[in-house]
């Protein structure tokens, strides 16, 4: 796992915020872990696709990893729950478990939307 604060030079909070702010040009690398073609996996993929199309049109890659076929890959991203979406890029790494049916929470999880109070 890469840590967010690997730099030798200490950064100001402002700098950190800017650095971590997903910019419009950045290509998003997303990886969806599933286990076989279960309804839940399919739902997760569909939900993800929808979110990406709406918010990241043209600048995202989705890689679907089927752990039933490649069980050895589970350890790499510390996958326990299925389905799990891993945001590889932009950093930092984020994980969202579940079928992503709650779009709002998924957006917050992906940091496409700030976690604003919605009460």
């Amino acid at each position: 796992m890469k840590k967010a604060g690997d730099q030798v030079q200490p950064l100001s909070l402002q700098e950190i915020a800017e650095k971590n702010e997903p910019t419009d040009e950045q290509v998003w690398e997303l990886r969806l872990y599933v286990a076989g073609q279960t309804p839940r996996s399919l739902a997760a993929f569909a939900n993800l696709k929808k979110i990406c199309e709406e918010h990241l049109a043209g600048r995202y890659n989705i890689e679907v990893v089927d752990l039933v076929k490649h069980p050895q890959l589970a350890a790499g991203d510390q996958i326990l729950a299925i389905p799990t979406l891993v945001r590889k890029l932009p950093q930092p790494l984020r994980k969202i478990v579940g079928d992503l049916r709650d779009t709002e929470r998924a957006l917050v999880g992906l940091q496409l939307r700030p976690a604003t109070p919605e009460k």
Binding site: Y33, L67, V68, A74, L80, L93, I96, V97, L100, D102
Partner: protein, 582 residues
């Protein structure tokens, strides 16, 4: 404590078991954990859960050829490897040999969000992959409760855990699941609900600043198991449980007699010393020479070429050797020849169970014929009285089982009744020697007597003994009108008696002389009287002969006269009677 394969195979008929290979644990579980089923190991932090689980795997891989998977939720593989290296487990090597896989599962709640439904299929897949990779028959999940910290949806988690344990059973692996002890429940998240075949509780208790580890089998389906709390310890050889409750009284007895190292004490003990394999208790007040007597016994045993184990709770090895040299015992030579091993530690350093465990372990390793525990009273400080009592019974039974002669010393405090041992262990010892101070005329002297000695005609005498530079020296004790005399009183009594004896002798000689003199005087007088009498007799004889001659002369004269007068010759009647003697 020793592994009993026959017992295992017997037990296996009732319920298949996966032997843990852990000292003692297989005995109390009747052969190990249930084979092909999950076992829950719970306990508070630092109770030894991870180690127990790890040893189960490592022993399985190395001793029973059952490869294993360790799924760690707390520590990384590197950390675990390092942690158990000190116990002699080389996990890297086992991993290379494809006997063990450590899979570290990291859950970071901060980087996980949850939206919607999910399951833990990922975990199942990982576990299945690891099991397949080595053909694992044993699985450890340590500590799966960490999932509750990483994932929010407890409903899903519980359902998945239930599925996981079911799945483990289906896989036919013997699994060990560790869990934190919860408040008022066995585990914090109620895992015991899912794992119901075998539950082991580890406890780490501190009483009077001394910690003791204990293990208890809370439940074990289909197996008669020990229900007690068993002390266990974790040391450089890993985990060991002490199933030693009372081992019973089935031990063999020996008729062999062994010397106490003090010839006169042997004489007091029916002439031959102690029985082999018995328990000897020496009690006495401070400074009565208990340790010295123990050292003599050690010396005698080593001289016979027997191994001795000396547990000292008061003195260090160096101090003991130095002190015993002052009474002419060279214990160092035996130590160098590896016939004698010292184990010195402060009694309060460990808990009672730990002491018991250490004694057990060292006895098993060193296999001595003689064990000295000096003093047992110190052990009582390490626990409470009742515990100490049970412990001593266990210990004595254990030693008897092995035909080890145990020599225990015990310090009795001055105030108590002298023959009351602290833990009332008199009933379990076979020979009880009592040493006491005798205070008289401003000095203290030591005396020893045999309070009891089973199976031999022992002396009833109280003997004074001296600790000289040649060792232990038993003397007779003088019993005078004021009680027992020892030390200087004894010496002065001896001197007095000697003087009196001389005097008596002189008196006798004097009387003898007197008698001789008297006899001589008497004899002299008798001689004088006899002389006198002889003289008288002589005189009498002389006068008688004179009489006769005079009569003759008279008769002749008369005859002559009558002849001259021409009288009638009547012989003898001529003279009147009255004139005869004139």
């Amino acid at each position: 404590m020793s592994k009993t394969p026959q017992k295992n195979s017997q037990e296996n008929r009732s319920l298949p078991k996966a032997p843990t290979g852990i000292q003692g644990l297989d005995e109390i579980t009747g052969g190990g954990f249930p084979r092909g089923r999950p076992t829950l190991v719970c306990g508070s932090a630092g109770a030894g859960k991870t180690l127990l689980a790890m040893e189960f795997l490592v022993r399985g891989a190395t001793e029973y050829n059952e490869p294993g998977v360790f799924m760690a939720f707390e520590e990384t593989a590197a950390e675990l490897t390092q942690n158990v290296r000190s116990l002699g487990f080389d996990l890297d090597e086992l991993a290379k040999e494809k006997k063990l896989i450590i899979d570290y599962v990291r859950i970071e709640r901060s980087e996980i969000d949850e939206t919607g439904d999910y399951d833990l299929e990922g975990l199942f897949i990982r576990l299945a992959a690891a099991i397949d990779a080595v053909g694992a028959q044993r699985v450890v999940l340590d500590t799966i409760e960490n999932l509750f910290a990483g994932l929010q949806n407890e409903g899903i988690l519980r359902a998945e855990l239930r599925r996981l344990f079911r799945w483990l059973k289906d896989q036919g692996v013997s699994a060990v699941i560790t869990a934190e002890r919860g408040e008022g429940a066995l585990t914090r998240h109620g895992l015991e609900e899912y794992v119901s075949d075998c539950v082991i509780l580890l406890d780490h208790r501190v009483t009077d600043q001394v910690s003791t580890r204990r293990l208890r089998i809370v439940k074990y389906r289909g197996t008669a198991h020990g229900t007690n709390e068993y002390p266990f310890l974790i040391d450089e050889d890993g985990f060991s449980v002490l199933p030693v409750t009372s081992l019973g009284l089935q031990h063999e007895v020996s008729n062999e007699r062994i010397s106490s190292g003090v010839p006169r004490l042997d004489t007091m003990l029916g002439g031959e010393g102690y029985f082999r394999g018995t328990t000897i208790l020496v009690s006495g007040t401070a400074g009565t020479g208990k340790t010295s007597l123990a050292a003599h016994f050690v010396d005698a045993a080593c001289r016979r070429g027997e191994r001795c184990l000396y547990f000292s709770f008061e003195e260090s090895q160096g101090q003991l050797i130095r002190n015993m040299r002052s009474i002419g015992l060279n214990l160092e030579q035996w130590s160098k020849k590896n016939l004698l091993q010292f184990h010195s530690s402060r009694a309060t350093f460990y808990g009672l169970e730990m002491h018991l465990a250490i004694i057990h372990k060292t006895v098993q390793e060193f296999d001595p014929r003689v064990v000295i525990i000096d003093p047992i009273g110190s052990l009582i400080q390490a626990g409470n009285r009742r515990d100490a009592h049970t412990m001593l019974i266990r210990l004595i039974d254990f030693l008897k089982q092995r035909q080890v002669t145990a020599f225990l010393t015990n310090l009795t405090s001055g105030g108590e009744a002298l023959e009351k041992t602290d833990v009332e262990i008199s009933s379990i010892v076979d020979t009880w020697l009592f040493m006491r101070d005798i205070e008289l005329d401003g000095e203290r002297n030591r005396a020893l007597y045999v309070l009891k000695s089973r199976g031999m005609a022992h002396s009833n005498q109280l003997r004074e003994f001296l600790l000289t530079e040649r060792g232990f020296d038993l003397l007779n004790v003088y019993v005078g009108p004021e009680g027992v005399l020892t030390g200087s009183s004894r010496l002065s009594q001896e001197a007095r008696e000697q003087a009196a004896a001389v005097e008596r002798q002189q008196e006798a000689q004097r009387k003898e002389r007197e008698r001789t003199r008297k006899r001589e005087a008497l004899e002299a007088r008798i001689a004088a009287l006899r002389k006198e009498f002889e003289v008288e007799e002589e005189e009498a004889a002389t006068s008688a002969s004179q009489d006769v001659s005079r009569e003759k002369v008279i008769a002749e004269n008369r005859e002559a006269m009558s002849r001259s007068r021409q009288a009638d010759m009547v012989k003898g009647s001529a003279l009147p009677k009255g004139r005869r003697s004139s």
